[in-house]
């Protein structure tokens, strides 16, 4: 009986792994007040596939989770933060 349960569970787990998204952690300079952070969040939410945004003012980091198949590029982020009035520096990418 256990074997019959384990097989579909493994199958579900592997499907979930295949559908995993990506987390981008970006360093953004010039961010120093809560009121200014909202413009960044609004800009990022306009990107199709963005699922979660977390702005850490103390560390100057913007963390964005995107669903599988969505990719954020350096030129895209450079322009996005420039439009929001801030300076994009770098990003790291992790698979979720």
């Amino acid at each position: 009986m256990k074997r019959y349960l384990i097989v579909p569970l493994l199958l579900l787990w592997s499907l979930a792994a295949l559908a995993a998204g990506t987390q981008y952690v970006m360093r953004v300079d010039g961010l120093a007040c809560p009121y200014c952070a909202y413009g960044i969040e609004k800009k990022l939410k306009q990107i199709e596939g963005v699922e979660n945004i977390d702005v850490d003012l103390d560390k100057g980091l913007v963390t964005v989770n995107v669903r599988e198949g969505v990719e954020l590029t350096e030129p895209q982020m450079d322009q996005l933060f420039k439009d929001a009035g801030f300076t994009y520096r770098s990003m790291t990418k992790h698979t979720l």
Binding site: A32, Y35, L57, G60, G85
Partner: protein, 303 residues
């Protein structure tokens, strides 16, 4: 012309101060003037401020007391990351009590005032983790959208009780902002050219403003917490004498310095703030009306 006459009369120097202040209040941390902080491209910010402006201590026999309550609506729009456009429209309710021909009379008026439009460009920006320095020049125009020929039973109201100036006026300046996670400093230098309308021309206004905001408290939340700031501002304002039918009015213009303590509660979506402008220097010409205080309370929000 006697300033207590029912006809168009000289504007107390002090009444021009809120007008100039309004034109520069749209976003950011200072309460009595502008900031160089950004408005994101394609986004709007709004501000609604209630301003109570009281003047008295009239050295003349008219014993004037002037009270203005205004609701000032400001809207900012980010054209690009560097360019932002602003509009400011006040709704003004004005009462002027004075003694005229031995009787105490009240002259009152209310309505929408003059619309100001201006643009701001971030000319210098240096960003580091958790801090920024910005310098932004700005320039704009005040259109004579407010009614400037209102009357009451005594005749046409004096200029100090009109909600509009009747003139197209121009202003410009530069604002500097240094912001960190712990504190913020803003400084602004500005000049306003007032023009003639119906024989009256208010004196030009030059001003220098400074604002220091210190973070007193933050919420425990990680990420984007709420901040509570203590604010102290200084406003140095000089106005030239007014001109009436080409002649200078000796009882107008002068120099004032205001000290403005205030408080601000800042979140990601909105800001609540309040401040009191207290005059600490009033070196006014002749019998120009002195200011008692200006109280400001407002809210700003992102949408």
């Amino acid at each position: 012309m006697n300033r207590t006459s029912p006809g168009r009369t000289i504007i107390p120097a002090i009444m021009l101060i809120p007008v100039l202040v309004w034109t520069s209040q749209a976003i950011g941390a200072p309460i009595t003037f502008n900031t160089a902080l950004p408005v994101a491209k394609g986004e709007f910010v709004a501000r609604e401020q209630l301003v109570v402006n009281r003047s008295g201590d009239d050295p003349s026999s008219a014993d004037r007391d002037r009270t203005e309550v205004a609701a000032v609506t400001a809207l900012g729009y980010g054209l690009t990351g560097q360019w932002a456009l602003f509009s400011v429209l006040p709704y003004r309710d004005i009462d002027l009590d004075l003694t005229s021909t031995g009787q105490r009379v009240t002259r009152s008026n209310n309505g929408f005032g003059d619309l100001s439009l201006f643009a701001r460009y971030t000319a210098y920006q240096h960003d580091q983790p958790g801090r920024t320095v910005r310098v932004a020049p700005f320039a704009g125009v005040k259109a004579p959208t407010g009614k400037d020929d209102a009357r009451d039973s005594l005749g046409i109201l004096p200029a100090s009780v009109q909600v509009g100036s009747g003139s197209w006026d121009y202003f410009g300046g530069v604002v500097l902002t240094y912001q960190t996670l712990q504190y913020q400093f803003d400084g602004q230098l500005s000049y306003r050219v007032n023009n003639e309308a119906k024989g009256f021309e208010a004196g030009d206004v030059a001003r220098l403003d400074g604002s220091y905001q210190h973070r007193l408290w933050r919420s425990g939340a990680q990420g984007v917490p709420d901040y509570l700031y203590g604010v102290i501002e200084v406003n140095l304002i000089h106005q030239d004498r007014n001109r009436l039918n080409g002649s200078e009015d000796p009882n107008s213009g002068g120099t004032q310095v205001f000290l403005t303590p205030g408080i601000q509660y800042v979140t990601k979506r909105w800001i609540l703030e309040g401040a009191v402008q207290v005059p600490i220097v009033q070196n006014l010409n002749g019998t120009a009306l002195e200011n008692d205080y200006i109280v400001r309370a407002g809210v700003r929000f992102n949408f």
